[in-house]
Symmetry: C2
Subunit: 340 residues, 2 copies
């Protein structure tokens, strides 16, 4: 059995979606999960009353009187709100009461809190977060880092490559995922200093490093994992997230052209819904904070119950497959081979 601390406050539909997702998982996986809901006890008890037919022992409430909101400044909030649902969950993880932590709350607070409370895996300079970009050819390309740290150094990118490679093996079952650096040209000589220096280090690792790719290769399935600094990754991710809404508003505008346009726009909307399902970033079920001593999954603020279900199942998988231990060993091995 696996124990997961689930932050139930601070997201867009808290605690409704969190609790619904948790109950769904418990019902589906009889006996496999124990879920610690962290948040305001009264609100959670009320929310739980809406559900029936699930094993009561699988749920426990860890009362947390405070909420870190989306607008809170992460580090300050972590310091001041020690009884928040995020800090209470992280402490449960630190104290080994929980095996993993799932949150759709303030991303910055989960990242900083995860790093501060759990500490980094030996060999990790900076924890990182990834994003899944849907490929035209099916499946996903993973991009690391998408915003844990705005800057980057060559040896951080080397570590990102090693951690990302392990994550892709663990979650997508890829035998030897390909890894590339995001740059302005495929040639080895193209790129900024960070890319040029990182290339030298990545070439020395055991991962399947294939060189540079360009912005156009994020969606075309050319590579499994793309590495970049958190500044670039964050901008690409937010740009990508804006494409679908932009598209929808254009189709909506088209519909204003009269009855036939309206009909054609409705058909278009249904086709796009069907063929761009994997473009819906809310449904991916979160991304891991990689490099900290513990399994931490970060979800989108507007995560659905289904998304929480996916995140909980993913957390279980990462614990079972000992993601953190595997990363630790791989980095130690790389460290021997490529001293800084």
């Amino acid at each position: 059995m696996i124990t997961i601390a689930l932050d139930t406050m601070g997201a867009d539909f808290s605690p409704h979606n969190e609790v619904s997702g948790a109950i769904e998982v418990i019902k589906e996986t009889a006996g496999r999960f124990k879920i610690l809901l962290t948040g305001k006890k009264d609100l959670l008890e009320k929310e739980l009353q809406k559900h029936a037919g699930y094993s009561k022992e699988a749920i426990e409430i860890l009362d947390a009187s405070e909420i870190i909101t989306m607008d809170d400044e992460p580090v300050q909030a972590l310091r001041q709100k020690r009884n928040s649902s995020i800090v209470v969950a992280l402490e449960a993880l630190k104290a080994k009461r929980a095996d993993a932590f799932v949150s759709a709350g303030n991303t910055g607070a989960v990242m900083s809190g995860g790093t501060l409370e759990l500490g980094r895996i030996p060999g990790v300079s900076r924890p990182m977060i990834g994003a899944q970009f849907p490929r035209s050819t099916g499946g996903f390309t993973l991009v690391f880092d998408v915003g844990a740290t705005v800057d980057a150094k060559p040896h951080w990118l080397k570590e990102y490559g090693i951690m990302g490679s392990i994550y892709a093996k663990t979650i997508f079952g890829l035998a030897d995922p390909t890894v590339a650096l995001l740059s302005v040209g495929e040639e080895k000589t193209k790129g900024n200093d960070l890319v040029l220096e990182s290339t030298k280090l990545l070439e020395k690792t055991d991962i399947n490093f294939i060189g540079n790719v360009e912005g156009r290769d994020v969606l075309n399935g050319k590579v499994d994992i793309i590495l970049c600094d958190g500044f670039t990754g964050n901008i690409i991710l937010k740009f990508a997230e804006s494409v679908l809404p932009s598209l929808k508003s254009r189709v909506k505008k088209y519909a204003e052209g009269g009855f036939v346009s309206k009909l054609k726009a409705a058909i278009t909307a249904s086709v796009l819904r069907a063929s761009l399902k994997d473009f819906d970033y809310q449904e991916h079920g979160g991304v891991p904070l990689l490099g900290v001593n513990g399994v931490v999954i970060i979800g989108h603020g507007s995560s659905s119950p289904r998304a929480f279900r996916t995140m909980l199942l993913r957390a279980e998988e990462l614990v079972k497959k000992d993601l953190c231990g595997t990363i630790k060993n791989a980095l130690a091995k790389a460290q021997e081979k490529i001293p800084k």
Copy 2:
């Protein structure tokens, strides 16, 4: 009358599309244009024979026996192929035989060649190129730099802001275009060192600087001009250019689901074509290389005759409105106010 040197070699459909675009402009604007076609004389004479009913005096061929291909390394090619269509055109501009230069050839060669042959406008540290991103709300947001220089310094971004602002006024007729820095959050405290330092400089200029925007704001019309280093800009541009093909391949896949799916996909394709017209980067009619001593317009390798027409007209406008002189004056003024 205005004289424009048009590179007719080295693009995807050379010299057909270049010549067709040139003839179209000449027919439309009787007496306003003289176009110097640079390229292989025999090929051009043959191509011109396909056209009739245009004023012969409006066209002149500047023979260039060499071609800088898309795969050539720019600086090396510029040095070795002194009789290439790009170098011959730039020399015509330098010798004041031409008022402007339009090319859809090797972008790197046009950028480097433009800078080397024409020199920089006093006060310009690095020339830049921009891209037009279509907004959901109509019109375009301009992003500078999208790849002229991979790195950037704070005072370069300040200059990018001043030059971009003048360009937007000149081309889009905006009275006081808004300018923002691309970053990972809107708060002034968020971003990498480059963003934080550039903010301080941009706040001191006379342009309408509104602070930071995020990746999601490239398409939503929040701001007229977005500034970033050429590395980030290039990655965003190439990512954006890949969205439409990715979308098309998904709709095509959807069509494979049977007769009804095929019909719905066809309707979708037509709606997308109509509502995403401005997403077609080939049709924008090129982007200027800003900061060099002369009007240089760079087009997409696959530019259509229509795109060449737009580029020629745009070049005329920039010459008439004395873009280079205006930039020079604005930078001198800023230099007085904000010494480096």
